[in-house]
């Protein structure tokens, strides 16, 4: 490459390295311009925290340990799981020409792949979007970024657990497994086998709803059954990118699970079986057929990474036959 061009390239790159988002670090509503929709983002102050569960925790699995210290930067997290009606604005994309002003991060909205319509769905307004692939969840974040000019992505596993704990080192954000679980979560014993509308249970100390139960939630990380045995202490903003489609981590447990799977440190993971009834080959990039318990929520880091890193957080599609 011509040296002059290289210089320009580097200077552009530098101009985009670790941009600090100058927005006030407070709770806010993001309106989707051109639609009636908005969603609420809750600030989570970055800090050190202990990730994983102690061996003494009841019904703990070995993949949740060892406990290690993680350092996180500031981010916002969506107060609710992303709902069907909100997701449908991305499915339909009939207001793509209307974009927010003063965008702090600009990408070309037309270059973002459109999702296919779900084969079968349960699209009740206010209910979490489910049966969704990690890629489809991630593309929504990318589209949201183009639409709003704010950098959105899926949470890392560490960000998810930290936001879920909301300061608690016990099994749940509200303490130990106890009678109170039913006021905080939709799970096996109170869900009647069904998903519920978002935000009907009590929030955690940060004001975030449904981290325990209802839909289990995608995070970015690849699942390692060995847990955190090879994870260094005091890593800053750790994330495990995976090359393979399966298994990837889901967190929080779902309306189908008993209390143990809802614990803050409990880790679930994706399986090929989740697309077993897809009659097509290649199978859908966008929808599962047997994951009606899997949804997601989104985060917005306060520091926007440089362009190359930033793209990595939006998951790449992987074909499946």
């Amino acid at each position: 490459m011509d040296k002059f061009l290289l210089l320009i390239f580097i200077s552009i790159l530098f101009s985009q390295i670790e941009t600090f988002d100058r927005s006030e670090f407070v709770k806010y509503d993001e309106s989707l311009i051109g639609t009636d929709f908005s969603f609420t983002m809750t600030p989570v102050d970055g800090n050190k925290f202990k990730m994983g569960s102690p061996e003494s925790e009841r019904r703990r699995r070995t993949d949740e340990g060892p406990i290690h210290t993680v350092i996180l930067s500031d981010y916002w997290i969506s107060t609710l799981e992303i709902s069907w009606d909100l997701y449908e604005t991305f499915l339909l994309r009939n207001q793509d020409s209307i974009l927010a002003n003063n965008q702090s991060y600009i990408i070309d909205i037309d270059a973002i792949s459109g999702a296919t319509m779900p084969y079968v769905n349960y699209n009740q307004p206010g209910y979490p979007v489910i049966n969704i692939t990690q890629y489809a969840a991630s593309q929504f974040c990318k589209w949201l970024t183009a639409k709003t000019g704010h950098y959105y992505r899926l949470p890392t596993e560490a960000e998810w657990e930290y936001a879920c704990r909301a300061g608690s080192e016990k099994a749940y954000s509200f303490g130990k497994a106890s009678k109170s679980i039913k006021s905080f979560a939709w799970y096996k014993n109170n869900s009647e086998g069904k998903l519920h509308k978002g935000g009907l249970k009590k929030p955690n100390a940060l004001g975030i709803y449904d981290m325990h139960g209802n839909a289990a939630e995608w995070v970015i990380d690849h699942y390692n059954p060995q847990g955190y045995s090879n994870t260094d202490n005091e890593q800053v903003n750790p994330v495990q990118f995976g090359e393979k489609l399966y298994p990837r981590v889901v967190r929080g447990g779902s309306f189908k699970d008993g209390p143990a799977r809802l614990r803050s440190a409990a880790r679930g993971y994706s399986k090929e079986l989740w697309k077993r009834r897809d009659p097509q080959s290649p199978k859908s990039l966008w929808w599962h057929t047997d994951a009606i318990h899997i949804g997601f929520r989104i985060v917005r880091p306060r520091i926007i990474p440089n362009k190359n890193d930033l793209e990595k957080y939006w998951i790449k599609p992987i074909k499946e036959y």
Partner: protein, 443 residues
Amino acid sequence: MKKQHKINRRTFLGNSAKIAAAGIIFNKLNATTKKHTPWDGEIKVALVGCGGRGTGAAIQAIAADQDVRLVAIADVFEDQAERCLEALVEKYGNSEQLLVNKETIFIGFNGFKNAIDMADVVILATPPGFRPQHFSYAVENNKHVFMEKPVATDIIGIKKVIAAGKLAVKNKLNVVVGLQRHYQRSYRNVKKLIDRGSIGRIISGQVYWNGAGVWVRPRTPQQTELEYQMRNWYYFNWLCGDHIVEQHIHNIDVANWFIGATPISAQGMGGRQIRNGKDHGQIFDHHFVEFTYPKGQVISSQCRHQPGCMNRVDEVFQGSQGKVHVHSANYGLIQSHRGRKLYFHEGENDVNPYQQEHNELFAAIKKGEYLFKDFNRGVNSTLTAIMGRMATYSGKIISMEDALLSNLDIVPNNLTSFEDTAPITPDKNGSYPIPIPGVTKFI
């Protein structure tokens, strides 16, 4: 209309007699259980129709039995055949089961013949308009068949499939149709319990395929009219049959299955309100049909392709002593009218029905058994859906007899190239004729 369509025993019997006279047999033919000779060696399979579903079915056939050899594939579109092969190589590249090579990829309107000629078992997965022609050819050449639903888009096609079906019975050729709910444990168990009387007699039901819709493949400049229609096939009746036939057939089929009969008449309404652009051909985006069955049962059938609305794909039935709710996520619930749970299907780990239909087909072929005459239900359910479409397009009550005697014929049977004239042509604005209730006679 000159006839009254009262639902009583006499009308039903009268219609049955006429239908029988028209050469249609609805009764299931009893399976023969005589001695059989096990299959010896490889089972050669050919795929006709290399889209996503065909590719999926080929993969399932290969997975069904280690003696299966996929020997040939056929499609009118070269790029589609290539993508199919890519998927197969990705999945079975190093396997001795994948024997497709350059010489056995057949492109063109008559490629299906070459592929079928090479096989013992054929998979028919093109758009349904071509199914009768392909099924007839396969049976005439003594092949076992897996074919996708629906089995036709018009009445002439239905009659071709019936004729070929008779030949299949005569020659003991197993025929499985991709109405995969029949191969799904949850549905099978619920059906068994209904037959044992757990909800009494079915009185009514509601069946749904309300979704956001499917893909659109917009016209490109170099396409001939025929190629455009075949690429964007979902929106043309001769190819697709409208979504009430192409997709909602699954739910209508469950009604026929659980009731154990085919409706005698249909009346309904429909239209295209949201999906009405140039690349949306001629089909409706919603249909609502009441199907009336011989013993007076009424099934309400809804299908909608409109994004942003309530979606549901399932079947519900009310019986004299209880109720049933089933859907394809291995869900089956039988309750008393007061809500007492009589049966709940735990189906989390059930085998994938798309795999099961191949497992059972190839197991039968291997044992030399003659077990599957699925074209019966394929014909009945396709015909039911076509009758529903005729009702929503015309705005009239359509009896099964009306439907059959219409001899509706919308599929050309002698296409040889994309230069051929398409069976339907757009007006000068690029729009296609769209059915208008009260005006349209029959489509």
